[in-house]
Amino acid sequence: MLNTITTATGPTPDAGPMRTHPARIIAIKEEAYAIATYEIEFEDPALKEAYQFKAGQFNMLYLPGIGEAPISMSSDPATPQVIGHTIRYAGNLTRAISRLQVGDVIGVRGPYGSAWPLEQIEGDDLCIVTGGIGLAPLRPVIYHVLRHRERYGRVFLLYGARTPDDMLYEDEFESWKQQGIQLYLTVDRADPSWRGHVGVVPMLFYLLRLDPKKTTVLTCGPEIMIHFVIYEAMARRIPKERIYVSMERNMKCGVGICGHCQFGPHFVCKEGPVFPYAAIEPFFGVEDF
């Protein structure tokens, strides 16, 4: 409803929340087959200074002529001037990113979505359970925990990959262990050099003694894996309010107005990707939902 007559020509809409900002690649690190971590920084100094993100959130990355894709931040949220994205070359955009070099520019907008509840779970034992590239959005959690080790109890990292070669961030494992993170690794297919476990990630729960009163589970990975992680966690009487899941859906706008990432009542780009399991339980596991 109009209250006054405005001018005959109306306002000119700008790009608004869909505006993407140029950011330069300053480092590329190969992590595994067809997976690499890209460190980027905004070209605009003010934006670079102002940008902050929380562990678990994602950016929309963009390349002119190619399009956009949602990618989680995998770097330390305490140093947001340099943003790390661990990218698997799987889709249209990520394949195009695979052809980029240090110095090239990509578009970035964000951060979007919910974060792992790092403050809320202070004092808890943390059980981080993940597979494959699912470790990427959890690495910021590990960095945060290491920075504030005294704020958390025991920290378990249960991580699985297809083969030993597919493990991400292997060069950091030793340092994580030294700083008090208990690492349990497993692979689907071992090679002769492998000394760890063989089998699916949820089986690693059997190696732990968790205190259900003070354990929080953080999980990200293929939906089928998450399914069994929840099963194992609840079998150990960990309440569903303390199981946090990062969901994958088709995030396209990142701001809750395109509809693609709906998961029941939730827009995964807005209320997610990180949910307490209690919030999604009625819909989780409904086939093709």
Binding site: G10, P11, G65, I257, C258, D288
Partner: protein, 372 residues
């Protein structure tokens, strides 16, 4: 003729032909008039110049999968029910460039649009349609992020609403409380009687547009006539919907056998989502020139009925029609309430009429409730 304009909230009566004076005033104020007009086989919304373009003397017959325009016995201006178009195409266009991107010195630059948003006056907005606009307001303007394109168009729209005395065979707005009487948010609302329009003024601007219109206070008899016409309209509605147990009814029946049955009929063609005045799903396409120097981000209407819609790495979340129909219906009638605090349906019946095989949402929901 009184020298002053009617007050906000006042009911006044005007001669039908004097609607032209209102339209003239709107044009003079810089509005582009958008209104109903006959386009061969349907009453559609397009740019109009004056009352001569309105579907005077026309009506329509609607049932599932069928729509026909027919001549009326009288010369009613607004004697039809809503057609295939809705106002959303003007506020949220089916295809719209959001911005351009230019490559420049090894980087790129976002170039904002330079065209100001058009300034529309919507002529003949029904109660259900006004509610649909309010619903899309919540989608595009209600969250932490506001859509600048929608906002630029929306905030300067003039709404000339019309109380609906001509419900159709697939209508059920009375069940949802969105009509036939228009709710709030109009600048002017008309009720059409045989020889006069009763005008309710809803805003300052609405009052201003009445400046050159001869009017008289509406009589008690006319108000009574209007009330009766609306009461008759409520009874004449072709469909009903019990909303008492939504959203739980649907959430509790996600594995109901009915989803399989409707999937056997559903074409997954997306017509329902395209004609729906509240469906907002959209996609942004990347359009580039051959040289790879100039790019455009173009937003288009999308639909949850396309397979690609739910694409994630490694597959699609909803690969079958059963899952896609369930997504659409549960979104409209259940999760929309969680998302926006309001039902996603206004009872306009478009999805029933324009479904090529006549799938009827009211029937589907009744079936899930076990009433068929």
């Amino acid at each position: 003729m009184p020298e002053f304009t009617p007050n906000i909230g006042a009911f006044v009566s005007i001669q039908k032909s004097d609607l032209q004076r209102v339209l003239e005033a709107l044009k003079q104020a810089g509005f582009t008039l958008i209104g109903p007009t006959v386009d061969e086989s349907a009453i559609v919304y397009g740019e109009i110049d004056g009352i001569d373009d309105l579907p005077i003397g026309w009506t329509d017959r609607q049932e599932p999968a069928s729509y026909r325009i027919v001549r009326r016995q009288d010369e009613a201006f607004f004697g039809y029910t809503v057609g295939p178009h809705s106002w959303k195409k003007f506020l949220f266009p089916p295809k719209q460039r959001l911005f351009r991107v230019e490559k420049k010195n090894g980087s790129f630059q976002v170039v904002d649009e330079e065209e100001p948003a058009p300034r529309f006056a919507f002529i003949g907005v029904r109660g259900c349609e006004l509610q649909a606009i309010h619903i899309q307001d919540r989608v595009f303007l209600g969250g932490p992020y506001q859509d600048p394109n929608y906002k630029a168009r929306r905030q300067q729209v003039f709404v000339l609403a019309v109380n609906c005395t001509e419900p159709g065979g697939t209508c059920f707005c009375a069940s949802l409380g969105t009509g036939p009487q228009v709710g709030s948010g109009f600048d002017i609302a008309l009720t059409e009687l045989d020889d006069t329009f009763i005008v309710e003024v809803g805003s300052e601007v609405g009052a201003t547009m009445m400046r050159n219109v001869p009017w008289r206070p509406t009589s008690a008899f006319e108000l009574q006539q209007a009330r009766e016409a609306l009461a008759t309209a409520v009874k004449a509605m072709g469909r009903q919907l019990d909303t008492s147990d939504l959203p739980d009814l649907l959430y509790n029946n996600l594995e109901h056998e009915r989803w399989n049955q409707v999937a056997a009929r559903c074409l997954s063609c997306a017509n329902c989502t395209m004609v729906c005045p509240t469906c907002f799903c959209n996609d942004v396409l990347e359009v580039s020139d051959l040289k790879g120097e100039q790019f455009e981000r173009v937003r288009v209407w999308d639909s949850c009925f396309s397979i690609e819609f739910s694409h994630v790495h490694g597959g699609n979340i909803r690969p079958h029609t059963r899952a896609r129909y369930r997504q659409w219906l549960t979104h409209k009638f259940a999760s929309w309430i969680d998302q926006f605090g309001i039902l996603g349906c206004v009872g306009c019946g478009r999805c029933i009429t324009w479904c090529p095989v006549g799938i009827d949402v009211t029937e589907e929901i009744d079936a899930i409730r076990g009433e068929v």
